[in-house]
Amino acid sequence: MTNQNTISRESDLSGGEYKWGFVTDVETDLAPKGLSEDIVRLISAKKEEPGWLLDWRLKAYRHWVSLYESEGEPDWAMIDYPDVDFQDIYYYAAPKGTNEAPKNLDDVDPEMLETFEKLGIPLQERAALAGVAVDAVFDSISVATTMEKQLGELGIIFCSFSEAVKNHPDLVKKYLGSVVPYTDNFYAALNAAVFSDGSFAYIPPGVRCPIELMTYFRINTEGSGQFERTLIVADAGAYVSYLEGCTAPFRKTSQLHAATVELVAHDDSEIKYSTIQNWFPGTPEGEGGVYNFVTKRGRADKNAKISWTQVETGSAITWKYPSVILRGDNSVGEFFSVALANNHQQADTGTKMIHIGKNTKSTIVSKGISAGKGNNTYRGQVQIMPGAENAVNHTQCDSLLVGDQCGAHTVPYIEVRNPTARLEHEASTSKVSDDQLFYLMARGLSEEEAHHMIITGWSRDVIKELPFEFALEASQLLKVSLEGAVG
């Protein structure tokens, strides 16, 4: 995964055992389950945060409480799950005690190891992903350290969110909540109140980040909610490509994950954000899995460009709409997505493109794959504001059905308030046909190979947008995720 052109960080979302201490006294680290103002204060205190950040968290918490009491969880998405008991979640979970963690790879679920094997994840990383308490320093970390120095010389900041709060408080204060305010939605409010950690990147004016920045997120602790926050700022004329990988161990209980990502692209800058989301999807019978409620949004100033590429194969439920506010004239927004829903997975994902500036342009390519009893919904909004002269949008959303028990839905919202806008919307639904399967099998491909080839070919327009190593991983993930759906 890590090569010369990538700098990679690992981020443990369960509280900070990984890099940031608090592990000396296990007792005090185990905050009780449930959400309250005290918990918010505790999180902030544990992280030794400045007063302004605690205030912001508290405002977010109070807003969330008012939303919870008035409306409850948002219910407009085409997803179906039992109500989340927000008082039954650890918001500040100490890292799992070493006594419950597997001691070495021999103790780990063989099914999980097999999956890592198939994904080609290096051995050391497998141990980490499996939740083994290892002391070994990962190769990627030492790489990161040397790279961090080079980046530092260019003035690029790439660190954990907590570090950024400590070392670059002015930047964090300036941009935090500027694109996704805590008032934005239910989960954004929750995240703002209790976020644990995440990544921060800042690229100074005119600097082209010479390598891909990457964060690999993992969820370990059972029964804990996961709330990471990422903030990426490209100053005027800067360029950065950022990769995000997500994996969670297999757990039979559901886990709540509510992340927020904010991108700020100043004039003439470009941010390319790629995600491979492979949170645990639950068992084939529909037990457990991650509830993935994510708010991702970018702001593009004059001549700036923001490009979201995502491959979503994991999570029991995905609720995610990476969006771009095309605020500056001539700004460009792109969204390329492959979302797969197999077994009992439900995905409701898409994008919002809000055209405010003149000559703004957006492109949406969404590919939804449904297999097993999976349900896949594309939900997209294209909004052309009155001042957005000559705005252009092209939307293409395709659905592919594997088997006869899955569902695909397309819900586009289009709002045009300027007559000079040009919008195109194409949609298609197709099925992996028997003719295609027989054709490939008659040449010697197994049924699984044939399905994989048809599906990755069909997803090619999106996968080709990913950096090379990520594209390979994405293709492998599609293969692994579809196992059991065919045959």
Partner: protein, 255 residues
């Protein structure tokens, strides 16, 4: 090498849909057999059943390859044994490059036989050679498999696959349909150049014209799911002259 014994086949899950009503046939190594017949006689069904297509049910009889029954084998397993079907209507697979597809197919075959996979470099060389030999527009093979190909281009692409995969038994299902004379000649030259004592062909065709270029060892006339007559190359010429009426009336099939 290939023996078909009293083969009955119908469409899966449809009652009274028997299409092949008892076929007997034997194809030795190195022979080229032509199967001719009117529309709806079961020619394409036979080709598909031989390759193991799922939507047919073999209700009676057997197919053996080198003495072993293949009736229970999946299409990919049959391909690994050296069988090949050139399709009448090749499927379009968006986003899949012909190169990638053929490399995967070749690798699967090698893997099933415990052989080493061909290196990318050697495969590329082989692929380029065959692309030229078959006369496919090189730009076409950079596109998605069969997508936007004309009828003729699809058939050439089938011949490309035949040349690369080098099967021991190739079944050509109306590969001549929709081809102009030049393309027809290319198909025939491909087959003729691949004729060898170790390789057999079954050429399914409606018209005799392909057989002007490929001289079969044996010609079978298939009518209403049965082989009604077997002979040498001269049989094809008779059909060309007299049509199928004689056989149709003999079996009582509707014209």
């Amino acid at each position: 090498m290939l023996e078909i014994k009293n083969l009955h086949a119908s469409v899966l899950d449809i009652d009274d849909s028997e299409i092949l009503t008892g076929i007997d046939m034997k194809v030795n190594k190195g022979e080229v057999h032509a199967i001719m017949g009117p529309n709806g006689s079961g020619k394409s069904t036979l080709a598909n059943v031989l390759m193991g297509r799922f939507d047919y049910l073999v209700s009676e009889g057997d197919i053996t390859l080198d003495g072993e029954s293949i009736i229970e084998l999946r299409p990919d397993q049959r391909a690994h044994l050296g069988m090949f079907l050139a399709f009448q209507y090749p499927a379009e697979i968006p986003g899949v490059r012909p190169w990638q597809f053929l490399k995967t197919a070749l690798d699967s075959k090698a893997e099933s036989r415990g052989e080493d996979k061909m290196s990318v470099r050697n495969f590329s060389k082989l692929f380029d050679e065959k692309v030229e030999a078959v006369g496919i527009n090189p730009n076409l093979v950079k596109r998605s498999l069969n997508e936007g190909f004309s009828g003729g281009e699809k058939k050439r692409n089938e011949m490309l696959q035949l040349e690369v995969l080098q099967p021991s038994l190739a079944i050509l299902d109306e590969t001549d349909s929709g081809l102009d004379v030049d393309a027809l000649r290319i198909v025939a030259e491909g087959v003729n150049s691949m004729r060898s004592p170790a390789r057999s062909f079954i050429v399914v065709t409606h018209y005799q014209r392909l057989l002007n270029y490929i001289t079969p060892d044996v010609v079978h006339i298939l009518v209403a799911g049965k082989i009604v007559k077997t002979g040498g190359p001269e049989l094809a010429l008779e059909v060309e002259k007299d049509g199928y009426n004689e056989y149709l009336s003999a079996t009582g099939a509707n014209v």
